[in-house]
Structures are given as C-alpha cells and as structure tokens.
C-alpha cells in the first residue's frame, strides 16, 4: 500500500503533469482533482459494497429499509447533494480563472500545422516572435490571445492551468498565473493532423527581474 502511494506520488511528478502544478489555475484544479478522486473511490466502494451485500448476503430476509427510502435516499438526495456542492465550488473556481481585470503581460499565440508562434510586444512598438519557445514571468497575470492560421489546435501548458482551443476566425483568451519558476512543457491538445504528436513547445518561467532582462535582450536581438 505504501509502495503504491509512493509509486503514485512519484508518477504525478513531471514537466507536463497537471498534478504537479506551477500555476494558480493548475494548483486549484489539482486540489479539486484529488478531492474528486477521493469522492470517486468512496462512491465506488459504497456501490460495490451495496451490490455485494445485496447479492451475497447470508440472510434470506428482505432488507428492513423501505423501497421508497432506498430510492429517495440513494437515487435523489445523495446525488443531488453531491452535485450541488460540486457545482457551486466549480462555479467559483472557474470564475477565478477567467481573464477578468487588466493583465500584466499579453502574448499573441498563433498555431500552425505543426508549430507555435509566440509574439511579445511592448508599448514602445517593439515586438518579438518566438517559435515553440515561451518565456514567462513568475507571479504575473498573463493573457494569451490564441489564434490559428489553419486548422483547430489547442494551447495547453498542464503545469500552469487549463487549455484553450485555437479556432479559425476567432481569438480566444486564456489567463495563466505562474507560481513556480522552472522549465515546463506545453503541447497541442487537439488532434490537428499528421505531426500533431510533435507539436510541443518549451516553457520557461523566470523570476520577474530575470524575465525583464531576458525580454529586453530579446527585443534588442530581434530583427
């Protein structure tokens, strides 16, 4: 059992793991994921136990509970309570991840078959385009404006938060807030043709000062 726990815990680590969060959204989601997994295990044990008891019980006598109690309790009250709690939590948590309020940094993302373009710009009119390589500042609210040049793709950095599709004719906005510096992976999550499997990109989260230094140098070097 302990071995299983250790195995599972080590299995959750990784540069692209949603369970090894390095962003606000991802941390929130990882927490509710563990809660829901626990709930799932509990209900599976409950239902399996009830079934085994019902089929293999020793006594021939019918159960003391009335049928209406079983149906109302198990069929209506139990699920209704659980899903109400879950929905209310989900609403609050989802709302907190929306791009509401001004961001600290905006990046234009354009997806191509089969690579990513990231465009940084500042108010002095300087701009910079990177391919399959993303640099982000720690602790800042970053809005990604996501667009595609061809088919549908999906922009996803599991360690930082949820994903957002790139749809022809629209620009979708995703907000991420990194909370841990380091190297992470991102990838296309929507099947987009032949080389979908190779549509990765590298993500580096810097301390804010380091990021500013990197950005300034990069602007200088940009053609």
């Amino acid at each position: 059992m302990a071995l299983l726990v250790i195995l599972t815990a080590s299995a959750c680590q990784g540069p692209v793991s949603a369970l090894d969060p390095a962003g606000q959204g991802a941390a929130d989601i990882a927490w509710i994921t563990w809660v829901m997994i626990a709930g799932t295990l509990f209900f599976m044990a409950l239902m399996t136990g009830l079934w085994l008891h019902a089929v293999y019980r020793r006594s021939d006598r019918p159960l003391k509970l009335s049928n209406t109690t079983v149906l109302v309790g198990g069929g209506l009250v139990l699920p209704l309570v659980v899903i109400t709690l879950l929905l209310v939590y989900g609403i609050r948590s989802g709302h907190s991840m929306l791009p509401i309020g001004a961001p600290d940094l905006e990046i234009r993302v354009t997806a191509y078959q089969w690579f990513w373009e990231f465009e940084y710009s500042d108010d002095q009119g300087r701009s910079l385009t990177l391919v399959d390589e993303l640099h982000l500042p720690l602790g800042q609210r970053i809005d990604f404006h996501i667009d595609t040049a061809d088919v549908i793709h999906s922009f996803w950095i599991p360690a930082l938060g949820g994903k957002m599709d790139a749809i022809p004719g629209r620009t979708n906005t995703l907000r991420l807030v990194p909370t841990r510096a380091g190297q992470f992976g991102g990838q296309c999550a929507e099947f987009c043709g032949a080389r979908h499997a190779h549509m990765h990109f590298a993500v580096t989260v810097h301390e804010p000062e380091d990021f500013q230094r990197w950005l300034d140098t990069a602007f200088e070097d940009a053609p």
């Binding site: 209704l80 109400t84 929905l87 209310v88 609050r92 709302h95 791009p99 509401i100």
Partner: protein, 122 residues
C-alpha cells in the same frame, strides 16, 4: 374511432414537465448567447444588468409554468381512457407528477448559476 391522437396527448402529458425543462434550457442558452452578443455588459456591473435580469425572467416564467402544471395535476387527477385499467391510469398520473417535480428541480439546478456569476465574463 380515433385513438391515435388521443394516445399522443397522453404520452405528451407524461413528458410535459421535461418539455418545459427543455424549453427553459434552450431559451436560457439562446437568450444568454444573443444577450451577451447584443448588449455590452461589463464584468464590474456584477449581477445588476439587463442580461441577468432577462435570464431570471426566463427561468421564473418556466418555473411558474411547472408550478401551474403541478397545481393542475393535484386538482384534476388524470382521467382514465376508454378500456383503461385503473393501475395504468394511476401509473400515468404518478409519472406526470414525478416528471414535473424532477423537471422543477432540474430547471432550478441549471438556472441557479445565473445568480452566481456576472453573465458575459470569460
């Protein structure tokens, strides 16, 4: 002898609650999509805005319709058709009521998020 349409009416009556639920669902979704497209609602406005008000009215109208049907059901129990046995009538009467209650719960359940978040954010 025209039993066809009559039995369709009976089947529709059993489903009445869910038909209203479906109407509520479609109107909430459509009204919301069109509302947020036509009217610019800033997030700061919170819940005091025309779109939320409209959605609440849509939900309230459907809830009122369900309550009206429930009242009617309890006041005028379903009558038996020619040659129908009493157990069949009872079953359908019970179904009508149960489906109405489920629909009422379902409508409230899908509508209550309207009161928790500003409508057009995100």
């Amino acid at each position: 002898m025209r039993p066809g349409p009559l039995s369709i009416a009976r089947l529709l009556r059993i489903c009445a609650g869910l038909l209203i639920w479906s109407s509520g669902f479609v109107m909430l979704y459509a009204g919301y999509s069109l509302g947020c497209q036509q009217i610019d609602v800033p997030v700061e406005a919170g819940l005091r805005n025309p779109v939320t008000a409209g959605l609440v009215i849509i939900a309230a109208l459907h809830v009122a319709a369900l309550i009206a049907l429930l009242l009617r059901r309890y006041r005028y129990p379903m009558t038996a058709m020619a040659d129908e046995n009493e157990r069949s009538r009872k079953l359908h009467h019970w179904l009508e009521g149960f489906v109405l209650w489920i629909s009422l719960a379902g409508l409230l359940f899908i509508a209550f998020p309207v009161l928790l978040v500003p409508p057009c954010a995100g």
